[in-house]
């Protein structure tokens, strides 16, 4: 039997770091990239006697995420302790939520080849992130960095509604863009602020019973998620086709070999001994509180896309690409404010900017220049101050060292000399220095004109308007 006879069943558990300024249970900053253990205090280091205090922003952000994904919001929720030993977990328990998550029964709608599809969400709950172990830095030992310990997370658990790696990717991208739009997470996958545990199983088409699933933990790029699912599906089908059975186990995806490896099987399954955290009081939310958050939700990608089609006449494809990232979409709108040329801004974003992002594997949020700079670039071209090919060079500059495009072209000497007097001066000077070329041209050698223009460009360091030079040389030579 071939792969066509099997149905793939995928469920995702997505962890998103919330972009609150401070940690979930103390006032340490959540900022990424600080020196080890500098964003710590007695509370997040789990010094004896310390107590957690729940950051209210975390609840607000999680409720926002719940509302943006059509969840029911729990009016009465609580924190639970998940107990296990690991050096990156200083309390030896993670404060999470067990049987009363903040949000339940939601869905995310995705576009598939067969039209729209709802991926149901089981729940969204809040929890704290663990620290990090840095291995092999000093004599093969491991060093604990607790900067990340206590950074707030939401875990978004989907039902096993996803049927292919493509759907998994579409779902993840949609979820990511929703979280970005409601500004609860920066979703930087390479910094680990968005990561997914992927549950995969297969079953023969028509079977109603789900197959045994395996779980791949902590995946943090779309590419590896797609590759890992593809690999795991093939592996599971091969095992079944060979008459074997799938073991329920946790797998590790190895990017280099492109294979999954067993981390632990069901027998090693930990008993986390969940119980309500006695240090924290119940989370009670009023109708008014939830309504206020509902009212404050920003425009979501779907509705923005619709607006771009109608307001700016963008194509479906372009509108989808731009609205897939809140950052791109914000950049688009803000640049239009500056230059009032939506078509041009659209073109820059979908062509050159997207190309550079792809080539450099950069996330839109990492674009170093701002909308004002992009808008000014468009204006400079519209005014004829620079050509569009110089514009492309300016864009590269903006990526490398963002500053006012006008300063860039001045500094680089990319402003065209279009002043007739100035052009004429250069033309006369070049003609005076090259009598032979004049003779050649008059003798019928058209190539001499090219040489003269080239000399003039050299003289002006490329700044002279080439069309004007051409025209003026011909005029002078005809005299």
């Amino acid at each position: 039997m071939s792969r066509e006879n099997y149905e793939v069943v995928i469920g995702l558990e997505v962890h998103a770091e919330l972009s609150t300024k401070t940690k979930i249970f103390c006032s340490c900053p959540t900022e990424f990239g600080a020196s080890p253990n500098t964003h710590t205090c007695p509370i997040c280091m789990a010094m004896p006697g310390t107590l957690p205090v729940l950051n209210e922003k975390v609840v607000e952000y999680a409720v926002k995420a719940g509302l943006a994904t059509n969840c029911d919001i729990s009016r009465d929720s609580k924190n639970d302790r998940k107990n296990y030993f690991y050096p990156d977990l200083p309390k030896a328990y993670q404060i999470s939520q067990f049987d009363k998550p903040l949000c339940e029964h939601g869905y995310v709608e995705i576009d598939t080849d067969d039209g729209k599809k709802k991926i149901r969400l089981t729940r969204i709950h809040i929890e704290e992130d663990a620290g990090k172990l840095n291995h092999d830095e000093f004599g093969g030992g491991s060093l604990v960095d607790l900067n990340r310990a206590g950074v707030p997370l939401i875990e978004i658990v989907s039902e096993p509604d996803i049927r292919s790696s493509e759907e998994a990717e579409t779902y993840l991208r949609k979820l990511k863009s929703i979280l970005e739009y409601i500004e609860v997470s920066d979703c930087k996958m390479q910094e680990g602020s968005l990561r997914a545990d992927v549950n995969v199983s297969v079953r023969k088409k028509g079977d109603s019973k789900l197959g045994t699933r395996t779980e791949m933990k902590n995946m943090n790029s779309f590419r590896s998620i797609v590759r890992a699912i593809e690999y795991e599906v093939d592996r599971q089908i091969d095992v079944i086709e060979d008459g074997g059975t799938i073991e329920q186990e946790t797998l590790r995806w190895d990017e280099v070999s492109g294979k999954t490896f067993s981390m632990r099987d069901k027998e090693d399954a930990q008993d986390y001994r969940y119980f309500p955290d006695p240090d924290l009081v119940a989370i009670k939310l009023s109708e008014e509180y939830i309504q206020n958050i509902k009212d404050s939700l920003p425009e979501l990608p779907e509705s923005r896309k619709q607006r771009y089609l109608e307001e700016y006449g963008l194509s479906q494809k372009d509108a989808k690409l731009i609205t897939s990232s809140k950052y791109l979409s914000d950049l688009f709108e803000a640049a239009i404010e500056v230059c009032h040329n939506p078509k041009a801004v659209n073109n820059w974003i979908i062509s050159d900017i997207s190309r550079i992002l792809n080539e450099t594997e950069m996330e839109p949020i990492d674009i170093p220049f701002d909308a004002k700079q992009l808008g000014k670039l468009v204006i400079l071209i519209d005014k004829g101050t620079i050509s569009s090919s110089i514009g492309k060079k300016v864009l590269v500059e903006l990526f490398e060292n963002p500053r006012d495009p006008e300063d860039i072209i001045k500094e680089k000497g990319w402003i065209q000399i279009s002043d007739e007097g100035a052009i004429k001066e250069v033309v006369l000077k070049i003609l005076e220095a090259n009598p032979q070329s004049i003779a050649d041209y008059k003798g019928g050698k058209d190539k001499a004109l090219g040489f003269l223009v080239g000399q003039a460009m050299k003289e002006t360091k490329g700044k002279a308007n080439p069309q004007m030079l051409n025209k003026m040389f011909i005029e002078e030579l005809k005299k």
Binding site: M45, A46, M47, P48, G49, N83, A92, P278
Partner: protein, 489 residues
Amino acid sequence: MDITELTVHELQEKIKSKELTITDITKAYCDRINEKEGDVQAFVTTLTENAMEQAEKMQEQFDKGELKGEFAGIPIGIKDNICTKGIKTTCSSKMLENFISPYDATVMEKIKEENIINLGKLNMDEFAMGGSTEYSYFKKTKNPWNLNKVPGGSSGGSAAAVAANMVPWALGSDTGGSIRQPASFCGVVGLKPTYGLVSRYGLVAFASSLDQIGPITKDVRDAAMLLNIIACHDEKDTTSSDRPKVDYTKCLKNDVKGLKIGIPKEFFGEGINEEVKASLQKTIEKYKELGADIEEFSLDIAKYALATYYIIACAEASSNLGRFDGIRYTYRTPEFKNLKDIYKKSRSEGFGPEVKRRIILGTYVLSSGYYDAYYKKAQKVRTLVMNEFNKGFEKYDVILTPTSPTVAFDIGSKTNNPLEMYLADICTVSVNIAGLPGISIPCGVDKEGMPIGMQLIGNKFCEETLLNAAYTLEQAINFRQNYQPQFRK
């Protein structure tokens, strides 16, 4: 005049009237500690040198009229599970033998704001688990009334130090009776406040839903004063109450006429020592004489409190003590092969037998398949216990019981029988289960001259009623004037 025999309110007056200086007082206590510590063994860490320096500085400030704090210059002793910045906080465990807290517990901040002088950290059962202070890793504290007897526990060091006049007052902590029972054994006053009245921030957690810090003092007025200092809302402890501050000395009216006292008959039945019973009977008669209305009633649910307590307390402890893992500030085994080995060996070597017993019990009751039968059921019983007490408080202002079924027992007599040791908590645990305030005050002595304690239980946040009831009896029976520790060997 022996300075160390004075209560804090007496010391306070004598400082004000300049009859005594701060240095006189601190010196007297340091001398007393030097004299008695060999016998009593109450301290894990003494800070006498430090204290003298502080006292001298404060005296200078006092002379200039610049010293702030109503209790400035009064010494204190602190149970060694309350975090003190820059000073070891060991919980009387090998695990934290060298742990120096980088921060002060909220109650310590309050103590420091008042310019109260810390004389040292007091011995306890390891991680506050025990009822005799015999489970300290460092030393066995002796009962000042009879040095062959235990001082009770887990705040045995605090109670013994107050009884032996080595500190004028002390802070203890109470999870199932750890303030009241040693206070009873040592003939002093011990108050466990309502859960949430005093911040737990900086108290090394044993059982988070039960732990409370409270005073151990020579008399009820001192207890009210120390409660004034430590009771406050704390943003760092979300379980702390945000009720407005009260002056607890104002309720000490020396009058119980018309006060309704309930006597739960289950607390006077089997297992309660006859001499204890007789002494309590006398106390009840005294209250009648003083004009209180006494009525017997049934608190049947109390018989389940002990089992409920040990399930909940151990469950929480098994999680709370996970952080002592050999990785950061704790004891770490010198030799290990891998991570699992660090955990296993550090925790096996760093924890004592009682702590291990409770971690194992707590891990068991939380594990999947047993959770519903134990932990969940215990939580249900806990609600029933609370309900029963609530019913009681519809009829009575306070509930009167013995603090402990017996007087202080001989050192070594129960360490091999954990269950018997647990039974020593039978009168006190239900108070923690229900989150109520409870106070123990001495009400008599047995034939051997060992003190007997009476426990009064109040409704939530009704410390004022409780303190006045205790104060009125104290004034009537004059225990301190009639009985003093003998340091019998």
